[in-house]
């Protein structure tokens, strides 16, 4: 079956559900829908973006309490009272307030790496929970009751059977929007967060912004879930918004398959049903004395993670393989190109750059310049500080002292995405591709700054024209470097040499004025090297400035216009290839014997 057929079958079953299922199962499905919404946010946040949150239940709580408070409290001041008239007005209010709280928390904590964030979320998850229970206007631990039902086209959704459709409509809309978002320019930036942040920044992605975006989306999904919950139950108290429930949401996402949108649905379904089933079954076997379901539940979770670390969705996908995905890049009009500097003008100038790491001086008073339409080769033994110089020029690591000028402006100290924006693009010595993404998508990240489609537009598929142009541009660059037949292959499945070539295509997709290549020929075979040399020659003739770090002498000497030689972080020679080759210092550095 094709993916489309699977989805259609699923939707049909979903629509038929309330017509045939007993009350109890409808209730269960309603809860699965509510949980799936939250878990979906976690898939985006944790599975895709790599940011772990235990605090989603608290966001659900803010959503639920906002609507509960606004619709039940008498005598609110006029400027808010009108919101409480209908749950349809409190929905945006719930989302807005939750997102606002999330924005504050996100700005405070998202900049932290890996494991601080989950611990931080435990902290605010606990705090918000205790607040719900201790603030008197929210009813303390007794909660808020008498919340009105939602009306839709004049029908009060008091019956779970009707509410079911509202819940699942919301879930499906969220699924659709998330899927769309991930398959877009913004989505590629989000998918680069986990394991590719340095690369993404070098391609102009504002990773801090991308993190905040998914954090806010996850919070908004949680808020919608909370709003639905409040009006389904028509009563709220703090219990379902505590840390333990926050942990459970994370369970759902991880067990379902945190990297996959459908994993959220699977996880929410499995865990809800499993818990229900354990609560039913175990007391019958062991008697009601102990809390057996939690023991069995915990053990099952451990077992599943031992067997399937990436969750169950990938396992299911393997069992039911899909036929033919889209295998063609549609042709589309060109993207705008930047005005290039005049041939022969200085593009890059490094003046007296110094970089120290603790006691090590990696770069010592390095100076060099690159002109438009010129290939400058930077050579030197491994460990001479060439890659350090690259990182310093491209803003990955700011210099300790000295200046870097690019196209007339000073760029040292700028973030690498700012430097990328000005027209500098690079490759990395240690290939930084996103292994599971296709070559096409990897290269399209290079063109990130040439598009402007936002998150909302992407979620609603309003930026498809631009997206088509971006992908077409990426495909063009892939063809240019000679990898046309690998466009749809996962980048990680290519040979190392080819992966380096993909890096070049990605850099070219940015339409740069200056290209920095860190050992592009390493791992290439003879013919591939010749093809690469030809490509670089062509780019030079088109007026591109190229700074090339390379080890392969043959490659460099046949290609470069000028050569700078480094040793121990310093420049020891500079000149035409023939001059450098005859320089005794260079011979000593490169060929120095041991005797």
């Amino acid at each position: 079956m094709s993916a489309r057929n699977w989805v259609v079958a699923f939707l049909a079953l979903l629509a038929l559900g309330p017509l045939v299922l007993p009350e109890f199962h409808i209730t269960l499905l309603n809860y699965i829908g509510l949980y799936a919404l939250v878990a979906l946010g976690l898939v985006l946040l944790t599975g895709v973006g790599g940011l772990t949150s235990f605090g989603q239940a608290a966001f659900v709580g803010i959503g639920a309490y906002t609507s509960a408070y606004l619709t039940t409290t008498e005598g609110l001041p006029d400027f808010v009272a009108w919101v409480g008239v209908s749950p349809w007005l409190t929905l945006p209010a719930a989302i807005l307030l939750t997102v606002a709280v999330a924005a504050v928390l996100g700005l405070l904590t998202l900049r932290l790496s890996g494991h601080y964030l989950p611990l931080g979320t435990i902290a605010w998850g606990m705090s918000l929970y205790f607040l719900f229970g201790n603030v008197s206007f929210l009813g303390g631990h007794t909660g808020v009751s008498g919340i009105p039902a939602i009306s839709l086209f004049g029908v009060e959704l008091k019956d779970g059977r009707y509410f079911y459709y509202l819940i699942w409509l919301m879930v499906l809309a969220a699924l659709w929007a998330t899927q769309n978002l991930l398959d877009s320019r913004e989505g590629r930036a989000i998918r680069a967060l986990k394991g590719g942040a340095v690369m993404a920044e070098a391609m102009g992605v504002d990773t801090a912004r991308s993190k905040l975006v998914i954090f806010l989306i996850a919070a908004a999904f949680a808020a919608v879930s909370g709003w639905l919950y409040a009006h389904l139950q028509r009563f709220v108290n703090p219990t379902p918004f505590g840390l333990h429930i926050g942990i459970e949401y994370l369970f759902m996402a991880v067990i379902g398959g945190a990297g996959h949108v459908w994993g959220a649905l699977l996880g929410a379904g499995l865990i809800t049903i499993l818990k229900q089933w354990l609560q039913d079954l175990l007391p019958r076997i062991f008697g009601a004395s102990g809390n057996f379901e939690i023991i069995v539940f915990g053990l099952l979770m451990i077992f599943v993670l031992h067997r399937a670390r990436d969750g169950l969705w990938p396992v299911i996908r393997r069992l039911a393989p899909l036929r033919g995905a889209r295998r063609k890049v549609e042709s589309a009009g060109p993207l705008g190109r930047r005005t290039k500097p005049a041939a022969g003008s200085v593009v890059l100038e490094v003046k007296d750059a110094v970089k120290k790491f603790g006691g090590l001086t990696a770069n010592n008073h390095m100076s060099l310049s690159v002109r438009a339409g010129e290939i400058l080769a930077l050579i030197g033994p491994n460990g001479a500080g060439k890659s350090t110089l690259f990182n310093l020029i491209t803003g990955v690591d700011p210099p300790t002292a000295g200046e870097v000028h690019f196209l007339g402006g000073r760029v040292d100290g700028l973030a690498s995405r700012e430097i990328a924006r000005r027209g500098m693009s690079r490759t990395f010595q240690h290939v930084r591709l996103l292994a599971t993404m296709s070559v096409l998508e990897n290269v399209a990240i290079g063109a990130h700054l040439r598009g402007g489609g936002g998150v909302m537009a992407a979620a609603l598929r309003l930026e498809r024209a631009e997206e088509g142009r971006l992908l077409a541009e990426a495909a063009r660059q892939i063809e240019r470097v000679g990898l046309a037949e690998h466009v749809f292959d996962a980048a990680g499945s290519l040979a190392l040499g080819q992966q380096r070539t993909v890096e070049i295509a990605r850099a070219l997709a940015a339409d740069p004025s200056l290209l920095l290549l860190d050992e592009p020929a390493a791992g290439l075979r003879y013919l591939e090297k010749q093809a690469l040399a030809e490509l670089l020659g062509r780019l030079r003739d088109e007026g591109m400035g190229i700074l090339l770090v390379e080890h392969d002498m043959d490659f460099v000497m046949g290609l470069a216009d000028r050569v700078v030689v480094m040793e121990f972080g310093e420049k020891i020679a500079e000149g035409l290839p023939e001059e450098v080759q005859g320089n005794p210092d260079v011979i000593e550095a490169y060929l120095g014997g041991v005797d």
Partner: protein
């Protein structure tokens, strides 16, 4: 508030802070060595206290069954692995430890009469029952996931926590226990009564911290653990196995947890699920220390303890909120001092 109350609150805060400090040290240790965020730490606190309480009440503590059960489970796993790989050599020692040790423990509990033994022996026996659970849990839950991501390890930690809480309820029941104080002595200092138990807690914590310091600075295994924490690949190249280091760190964490439980059992009533909140406060302290620095984590723990006791006086309903929001400014400070782009593992 007068000075006397302030001193009293400080005393409470320091006692709790000393316990949080121990737990924070264990958490930092386990995380640095294994990348596991050890959420079940709190269960070891509860198990330590409740096992001792069990002995004192003349009951057979449930931890014995846990010890036997986990030992048997490991034995089964080891046999299956050994049969698959054909390497039966190492099996004897694995079986000896995992079946033999629990058997000896059972013999001591059933043949002896722990209720009549002196407190000190009961404490040692309780530790002997609870501490081996640490490496056993590591063997079963974490060792097969040596190369898994921090997220997966974290989720497993939560699952282990849930399982142990469930087992705690099963073994110890829903009622809490409180054990008699180690010392009935009390002193009056500046108008404030300082109990012997307070001195015990603070003194034992201090001694334990010094012992741990010496272990990490002087002993080969202590250095090996630090080496693994600093550079895992480098440590493996020295022949320090990541699993061995992991197990050892779990031994230490379990010992610290159980001992903490035993120390606080005379001060507060311990329930089967008390550990979680205590463990979380250890976390707050560990975060203050950045999950890396032991002395700062210890200082953070004292701060958490003091904050807790003072806020319980001023705004007791918001005690937990205040303690847990302490993390936020610390995180902000950290975010301002960390570099802007970092590669996630």
């Amino acid at each position: 508030m007068d000075l006397q109350i302030a001193l009293l609150l400080s005393q409470d805060g320091i006692v709790n802070g000393a316990i949080y400090a121990l737990l924070a040290l264990a958490l930092v240790l386990v995380f640095a060595v294994t990348r596991v965020i050890f959420i079940p730490q709190g269960e070891f606190v509860a198990f330590g206290a409740l096992t001792l309480a069990g002995f004192q009440a003349g009951k057979v503590p449930g931890t014995l069954w846990l010890l036997i059960g986990l030992g048997a489970a490991i034995a089964i796993v080891e046999v299956v692995i050994a049969m698959r790989s054909g390497a039966l050599r190492r099996l004897t020692s694995a079986l000896g430890w995992n079946l033999g040790y629990p058997a000896v423990a059972a013999a001591v509990v059933f043949l002896g009469e722990p209720v009549s033994w002196p407190l000190f022996v009961q404490v040692v026996l309780a530790l002997a029952m609870v501490v081996p659970l640490g490496p056993m849990v590591y063997r079963l839950a974490y060792q097969p996931l040596l190369s898994a991501s921090v997220l997966v390890l974290l989720i497993v930690s939560v699952a282990v926590h849930l399982t142990l809480v469930g087992l705690g309820l099963l073994f110890f029941g829903a009622e809490g226990s409180r054990t008699p104080a180690f010392s009935e002595a009390s002193f009056e200092i500046g108008g404030v009564v300082v109990t012997g138990q307070t001195l015990w807690v603070v003194g034992a914590s201090a001694v334990l911290i010094v012992v741990l310091y010496l272990f990490f600075e002087r002993s080969l295994w202590g250095k090996a653990l630090r080496a693994t924490a600093i550079n895992r690949t480098g440590a493996r190249l020295m022949g320090i196995s990541s699993t061995q280091a992991g197990k050892l760190s779990f031994v230490l964490a379990a010992a610290i947890g159980a001992l903490s439980g035993i120390l606080i059992a005379p001060i507060t009533t311990v329930y089967y699920d008390t550990g979680f909140l205590i463990g979380l406060k250890g976390f707050v302290a560990a975060i203050v220390g950045g999950l890396a620095s032991y002395p700062i984590a210890a200082a953070g723990a004292i701060l958490v303890g003091l904050l807790e006791s003072f806020s319980s006086f001023w705004a007791s309903a918001f005690k937990e909120v205040i303690v847990f929001t302490l993390i936020i400014p610390v995180l902000v400070w950290r975010s301002l001092t960390t570099r802007h782009v970092e590669e996630e593992e």
